[in-house]
C-alpha cells in the first residue's frame, strides 16, 4: 500500500462519515493524470451524471495541468481544497474531484435538480398575452426575465439564507432606474434575516415588509414573468427564492394590486373600463354588506317606498338580526371557498354547486336568511374575487367583517368610523418606506387619472413618481 492509498482511504472514510453515509452520497477514488489518485464525490440525486462523465473524460484525455488556466471552463472551476466549502458545493449539486497531490478541488457544476416546466400561473390567468410563469429554479426564472430585458443594466444579486436550508434568495433590478433607498432597505433586511430554516415565501415577506401586522400586502406577489419585468423596468426590485415560484415586487402602491397585464394587452378603453370596475369592486366588497346591515337595522327610511316594501316582505320572517344573517351566509361562503381550494378540480366544482345552489337555496327556504341578504353577499363575493391579486383578495374579504360589526352597532356612523380608521391606516402604510396610497395620498394630481385610465402606449409617459427612481425616463 502506498502512502497515497493510505491517505485516500482515510479521506474517503472521513468524507463518508461526515456525510452520514447517505445513500445517495457517492465518494470514490478514481485515477487522474499520471497514476495520480483523486477522489470523486457527488450526490447522485442532484447531479447530471452523463454530462459530468463526459467532462471528466475530456479532462483526462485532453488537459494537462501545466497549462495556466487548465481547469477553467464553462462548468468547471479549480480552487484549493477546503473541507468546509466542499459540503456546500456538494449540496448545491456540484460534482467535486479532490486532487490529493496538489490539494485542489475541481468543481464541476452540473446540477440536475427537479423542477417543473414553465406554464401559466394558475392564480393569475390572463386572456391574452404571455403565459410564461416562474418556476422553482434560479436559472429558468432568470432566463425568463433576461429574455424580456436584454440589457446589461439588469443586475441580479444572490444571497443564501437559512443556516440549515441554505436557500438561495436573489433579487434583481435595473441599475440605472432602481430606487436606491429601497434597494438598500432590501439588502439590509435580507442581511438581517437570521434564521435556520427558510422554506416559504411568506417568511421572506414577513422579513421584508414594513408593517407585518397590517392586513394589506405591501409587496406584490406574482408568478408572471412579464409582470416582474414590467415592475423592474419601472425601477422596482424583485425578490425571488429558489423554493417558490412567487416573486415579491416592491415598492408598490395600493393600486398596483388592482392592475393586471390584461389591461395592457387589451385596448385602452376596455382596459380603463375594467380598471375602474375593479376599483369600484373594492368599495363594493368592503362596504356593501355593512351598508345593507346599517340600512336594515338603522336607516330603513333611506329606501324609496317601492324598494322598502319589497325588502320588508322579504325580511319580515327572518328570525335573526341582519348581522347574524350576514355572518351565517358569509361564513358559509368562506367555508365553501376554503373547501374547494384544496380539493381536486372535479370535486371542487361539485362542492361549488352543492354549496352555492343547494345550501343557498335551502338556507333561504328554511327562512334562516333573506333573499336580499343572499344577493348582497353574492355581490360582495363576486366583487372581492374581481381583484387580480389573490392576496389583496383575501384582505378585502377579511376587511368586511369589522365593517359589518360596526354597522350593526352604530349604523352609518359606525361605517364612517371604520372608514376613517381604514383611511388613516392606509395612509400610515408604506411599501419599502414609500407611501402606499399614492397617487391619492400624497396627492399627485397628474398621476391620479392613472388609477382609472389605462393610457395608450404611444403617449410619452413619465416615470412613475410613487417612489424615487434615479432617472426620470420616458417609458
Amino acid at each position: 500500500m502506498t502512502e497515497q492509498q493510505d491517505q485516500q482511504q482515510i479521506i474517503l472514510t472521513k468524507l463518508k462519515n461526515s456525510f452520514y453515509n447517505s445513500a445517495d452520497f457517492v465518494a470514490k477514488p478514481i485515477s487522474w493524470w499520471d497514476n495520480e489518485i483523486a477522489i470523486l464525490c457527488f450526490y447522485s440525486s442532484i447531479v447530471n451524471k452523463a454530462d459530468v462523465e463526459r467532462i471528466m473524460y475530456f479532462f483526462k484525455e485532453h488537459i494537462r495541468d501545466d497549462n495556466l488556466y487548465w481547469g477553467e471552463s464553462v462548468y468547471t472551476t479549480v480552487i484549493p481544497l477546503d473541507e468546509k466549502q466542499l459540503a456546500k458545493f456538494l449540496c448545491d449539486g456540484e460534482t467535486v474531484v479532490v486532487r490529493l497531490k496538489t490539494k485542489e478541488m475541481i468543481r464541476i457544476s452540473l446540477p440536475e435538480m427537479a423542477y417543473r416546466q414553465t406554464d401559466e400561473p394558475t392564480s393569475e390567468h390572463v386572456l391574452q398575452g404571455s403565459r410564461e410563469g416562474l418556476v422553482e429554479n434560479f436559472d429558468v426564472n432568470l432566463s425568463l426575465i433576461r429574455k424580456r430585458i436584454k440589457s446589461h443594466k439588469l443586475v441580479v444579486k444572490q444571497k443564501s439564507i437559512g443556516d440549515e436550508t441554505n436557500t438561495t434568495v436573489y433579487y434583481f433590478y435595473m441599475a440605472d432606474l432602481v430606487d436606491e433607498e429601497a434597494l438598500q432597505l432590501i439588502e439590509q433586511r435580507l442581511d438581517n434575516i437570521k434564521i435556520d430554516i427558510l422554506y416559504s415565501v411568506g417568511q421572506l415577506t414577513d422579513y421584508l415588509e414594513d408593517h407585518v401586522w397590517s392586513p394589506f400586502p405591501q409587496l406584490l406577489k406574482t408568478e408572471r414573468s412579464d409582470r416582474i419585468a414590467a415592475g423592474v423596468l419601472e425601477g422596482r426590485i424583485a425578490v425571488i427564492s429558489d423554493l417558490s415560484s412567487t416573486a415579491l415586487i416592491g415598492p408598490v402602491s395600493f393600486f398596483t394590486f388592482y392592475q393586471t397585464p390584461d389591461d395592457f394587452n387589451g385596448r385602452a378603453i376596455t382596459g380603463s373600463f375594467y380598471r375602474m370596475l375593479r376599483i369600484f369592486s373594492f368599495i363594493l366588497a368592503i362596504f356593501l354588506p355593512a351598508f345593507y346591515i346599517a340600512v336594515i337595522s338603522f336607516h330603513f327610511e333611506i329606501l324609496p317606498l317601492e324598494l322598502s316594501n319589497q325588502i320588508k316582505t322579504d325580511i319580515n320572517n327572518i328570525p335573526y338580526r341582519p348581522i347574524l344573517e350576514a355572518f351565517i351566509l358569509e361564513l358559509t361562503l368562506e367555508l365553501i371557498r376554503e373547501a374547494s381550494i384544496r380539493l381536486p378540480t372535479a370535486v371542487g366544482q361539485t362542492i361549488g354547486i352543492v354549496g352555492g345552489l343547494v345550501i343557498g337555496d335551502a338556507i333561504v327556504n328554511a327562512g334562516l336568511v333573506s333573499n336580499m341578504m343572499v344577493i348582497v353577499v353574492a355581490f360582495t363575493a363576486i366583487g372581492s374575487f374581481v381583484i387580480p391579486s389573490t392576496e389583496m383578495n383575501g384582505t378585502v374579504r377579511i376587511m368586511r367583517f369589522p365593517f359589518m360589526i360596526l354597522a350593526s352597532f352604530f349604523g352609518f356612523l359606525g361605517i364612517a368610523f371604520g372608514a376613517a380608521i381604514l383611511l388613516i391606516h392606509l395612509l400610515n402604510l408604506t411599501s419599502l418606506k414609500r407611501p402606499y396610497f399614492t397617487p391619492l395620498i400624497p396627492f399627485l394630481p397628474k398621476e391620479l387619472y392613472k388609477i382609472f385610465i389605462r393610457e395608450p402606449f404611444f403617449k410619452p409617459g413619465k416615470q412613475v413618481k410613487s417612489f424615487s427612481p434615479k432617472e426620470d425616463r420616458k417609458l
Partner: protein
C-alpha cells in the same frame, strides 16, 4: 283633532292594508295614540300623501306641518292634499283597492301634475311657500263620488296667507294656473268648439314675461307653443287658416285666464307669485299688505299663440 293612518303590513308574501284611527291635541300626539293601538311603531319615513280635511285647513296649515319638518326621519317628498268632507271616508274607501292608500293618492296627484291640473307641491315646497310673503299656496283638492267609492280630483284649493280660503278651482280652471306657472315637461290641454267643431290643443311650451306698467297695474305676456290634437271635419290644407285658428285660441285662452285671475283676486290668493315678482321689479309696491294690493291690482293678460305641429295628417 283626529288622525287616520293607513299603512301596509308585510305578510308572508303580500302586504295588507291596515287603518288606524286616533285622536289627540296635535299630529304628534295623534301618532303616539295611534301607536298604542297597534303592535308596532308607526314609521312615517315612507309617508307618501298627507290628506288634510278642509275644515282643518281653514285656520292655517303651519301648525300641522311642524312635526314633519322637525323629525329627520320623515319624508318631505310626500304630497299634501286637501280633502272635502271627512278624511276617514277617503281612507275607508282605500280598503277595497289593491293599491295602498298612500300609493294611490300619490299616483292620483302625480298624474294630475303631469297634465298641469295641480301645480307641483310637496311637503317641503309647501313649507317654503307658506314662509314666503309674496306668494300663496295652492294644493290639490280631492272629492269622493256619490257612492263613496272612488276619490277624484276636485281641482285645487286656494290659500291666502297660509289659510285655506274655502274656494276651489275646478280642474278645467286649475289647469290655467298650471299654464301660468308653467314648468318644463308639463302638457296642458284645452278643448274648444271652433265653428261648432271640436278643436283640441296641447300647450307644449310657455314663455312668460311679466311687466309692472304702473303703480297699480301689471301686464302678463304669454307666448304659447301649441300642437293641434284634434280638429275634425275641417282640415288644414289651406295654411291661411292657421293664423285664424291661432287668433281664436288666443282669445279663448285669454278669457279663461282672466276668469281665473278674477277668482284669485276675489280670494286675495296670489298663487302666481306676483308678489315675489313685484318685490324685485318695483319694491315700493310690495309691503305687508300685499294681499290687499293684489286684490286691487289691474292685471292685463296678453296671450300670443303659435301652432307648431298639427299631427300626422293635415
Amino acid at each position: 283633532m283626529k288622525g287616520i293612518y293607513a299603512y301596509s303590513e308585510a305578510l308572508q308574501d303580500s302586504t295588507e292594508i291596515t287603518v288606524i284611527e286616533a285622536e289627540g291635541k296635535s299630529p304628534r300626539e295623534v301618532r303616539l295614540n295611534a301607536e298604542m293601538k297597534v303592535e308596532q311603531s308607526i314609521d312615517l319615513s315612507m309617508l307618501s300623501a298627507f290628506i288634510l280635511g278642509e275644515d282643518l285647513a281653514t285656520d292655517g296649515l303651519e301648525k300641522y306641518l311642524d312635526v314633519f319638518y322637525r323629525d329627520p326621519y320623515n319624508s318631505l317628498t310626500a304630497f299634501v292634499v286637501i280633502a272635502k268632507g271627512s278624511v276617514k271616508d277617503y281612507i275607508d274607501a282605500s280598503k277595497s283597492w289593491s293599491a295602498e292608500a298612500g300609493e294611490y293618492y300619490s299616483r292620483l296627484i302625480r298624474s294630475a301634475e303631469i297634465l298641469s291640473y295641480v301645480p307641483e307641491y310637496t311637503l317641503q315646497t309647501t313649507g317654503a311657500t307658506l314662509n314666503s310673503k309674496g306668494t300663496d299656496l295652492v294644493l290639490p283638492y280631492i272629492t269622493l263620488d256619490e257612492k263613496q267609492q272612488r276619490p277624484q280630483l276636485g281641482g285645487v284649493a286656494l290659500f291666502s296667507k297660509g289659510k285655506y280660503t274655502g274656494r276651489v278651482l275646478k280642474p278645467d280652471q286649475s289647469k290655467v294656473i298650471g299654464l301660468l306657472l308653467q314648468k318644463k315637461g308639463r302638457k296642458i290641454q284645452f278643448s274648444f268648439f271652433y265653428n261648432n267643431k271640436p278643436l283640441s290643443i296641447t300647450v307644449m311650451d310657455v314663455k312668460k314675461k311679466w311687466k309692472v306698467t304702473s303703480s297699480n297695474s301689471i301686464k302678463l305676456d304669454y307666448d304659447l307653443q301649441m300642437d293641434i290634437q284634434e280638429l275634425s271635419g275641417d282640415n288644414l290644407t289651406d295654411t291661411k287658416k292657421i293664423p285664424e285658428i291661432e287668433k281664436f285660441l288666443e282669445q279663448k285662452i285669454t278669457e279663461e285666464i282672466e276668469k281665473v285671475i278674477t277668482v284669485l283676486q276675489e280670494e286675495k290668493s296670489d298663487v302666481l307669485g306676483v308678489g315675489n315678482f313685484v318685490r324685485v321689479a318695483k319694491p315700493e309696491m310690495f309691503d305687508e299688505n300685499w294681499h290687499e294690493t293684489f286684490a286691487e291690482l289691474d292685471i292685463a293678460v296678453n296671450v300670443k299663440g303659435k301652432i307648431l305641429k298639427v299631427g300626422i295628417i293635415k
